[in-house]
């Protein structure tokens, strides 16, 4: 369970261009649910996901993961929590060019130092599960947009995280691929994973498997749907 208590986040704090991207967020994300954040561009969705996912720390307020306050932890510990607990699917996919799909998928596992063979097997399973079995050796820049996103999803899953975070996952996809994405995350939800999405795509926010939608505007939650 993830809790946010009066969380605020400022960019460029103390400077003339200081900007409060989040301004007092109170939120509870339940385990095993799919939660979506919607709101116009600039409303703070991405910022919120970075705080939940331990990519950044709040300027004030608390973030609790399973009751443990993680908002004050040093970066090293945040990184350790992040790579075991969260898997990220970035809006731009953020794959590493020039490397194969398989190498990209295995990247988050390297710092953990697990057994190499088990890792390769797991990567292979994910490739197959995401219909990339034949594309494992292809360089990621040769893949289509949909394939690239599936590689990004596989990479998010390689360390078997409890929580999958996807920022604007359908922004670069057509409707058919967007529906496919939703089907994939529904499958993940069925496996018991907690899913967090941000989107202003109604296809996502109004999809049946989304348990909860929060609306953001100017760094505040406006409604709870």
């Amino acid at each position: 369970m993830i809790e946010l208590l009066n969380v605020r986040k400022a960019y460029n704090q103390g400077r003339s261009n200081e900007f409060w991207a989040l301004d007092g967020i109170d939120l509870v994300v339940e385990r095993g649910r799919m939660t979506a954040f919607r709101g116009p561009s600039g409303s703070g969705k991405t910022t919120l996901l970075t705080l939940v996912g331990c990519l950044a720390r709040p300027t004030s307020g608390r973030v609790r993961l399973d009751g443990r306050d993680i908002s004050g932890l040093p970066e090293r510990f945040l990184t350790q929590i992040r790579r075991r607990t969260f898997g990220f699917v970035f809006q731009q996919f953020n794959l590493i060019q020039g490397l194969s799909a398989r190498d990209n998928i295995m990247l988050p596992a390297y710092p953990l130092g697990g057994d190499g063979r088990a890792l390769r097997e797991r990567a292979e399973e994910l490739l197959v599960a995401l219909r990339l079995g034949h594309r494992g050796d292809a360089r990621v820049e040769w893949l289509s947009g949909g394939e690239q996103q599936r590689v990004a999803i596989a990479r998010a899953l390689i360390n078997d995280p409890e929580v999958v975070i996807a920022d604007e996952p359908t922004a670069n996809l057509d409707s058919a691929l967007a529906r496919e994405f939703l089907a994939i995350v529904e499958g993940l939800k069925d496996q018991g994973k907690t899913i967090l999405l941000s989107s202003h795509d109604p296809l996502v926010t109004e999809a049946g498997m989304v348990d909860r939608v929060h609306s953001l505007r100017d760094g505040r939650l406006v409604t709870a749907g």
Partner: protein, 381 residues
Amino acid sequence: MPAWLTRQQALIDFTLASLARRKLKNLGLLLVYTLIVFLLASVMLFGHALRREAAAVLKDSPEVIIQRMVAGRHDLIPPGYLDRLGHIRGVQSQQGRLWGYYYDPVVKANYTVMVPGPDAASPVATGRVVVGAAMARARGLAPGNLISLRAYSGRLFSFTVADVLDHDSELVSADLVLMTEADFRAFFEITAGHYTDIVLSVANPQEVRNVAAKISAALPDSRPILRDEVLRTYESVFNWREGIVLVLLAGALLAFAIFAWEKASGLSAEEKREIGILKAIGWETGDVLKMKFWEGALVSLTAFLLGYVAAYLHVFHFASALFEPVLKGWAVLYPRFELTPAVDGLQVATLFFFTVFPYTVATTVPIWRAAITDPDAAMRG
């Protein structure tokens, strides 16, 4: 396998995959780097082996050599000197030597003509000579052949080649011609009782300098040459030659350092983006640095090993073909000698330190700045 080891292995795997992306650039870099290590290591190996060789040869040479100086030039020792030296306290034995240089217009080379000492390994008989390997090669001689030499007096002499000296220490014996005392005196027209120089042995090695001083006092026109001093002279000659080459190479190395620094520190936007991604997906700053460390270490270690092995082969199996003109060349008849393979641990360490270390640092340090960026940067394209 322990976790840290599989971690390093995974990082190395990734580094290799990452390096393979820019194959041409990285191979080019590796090539330049290997070449530099090769040149430096060749000079070091060559100099070291040569010095050992020379020291070994000089070890067997006499402790003191007496020359006579006339008008500042080396002249023949006149009769009587040998006896007078025998009366100086501390001198154990004394012996006159006969040797000289002969210019052979046929092959346009100088030979060193010598009369072997009484206890020499290869004694010669009248009318016969023993020749060095290089000379035998130059004149196409084999044992049993006749060789004609026109003396400085104009007279023509014929000798039978009794033997060709083996390659053991060709550096010294390459251009040698050994003949009997009588032949030598006839050939160079040196009358009996005269010698080229005198070799002495001293009863107490600690006393060498005292004995030399006494000789200088007794025979003021003589110049005693001590073996230790010769050793030192050789040493400085080698150092000097090596120094020239090293200075040239230092220039090359500097150019390479600038090139490497430029390559390593000019972090491209692409690399920065990649580091951001790695951090976002769970790599720590330390992991990124380790990966870059491996990148530098793999390139420089490979270059070091390739370069060093190539240098070893170059010096000990291909007779330092590239350096011959610079590092040797006091004999016109070029000795084609095989140096005894010798590797000096300190030299290896020095070379390692000055090649692998700076490059690895140059690739790792600039990454520091990029590696400490906030991981959330990756969330924003």
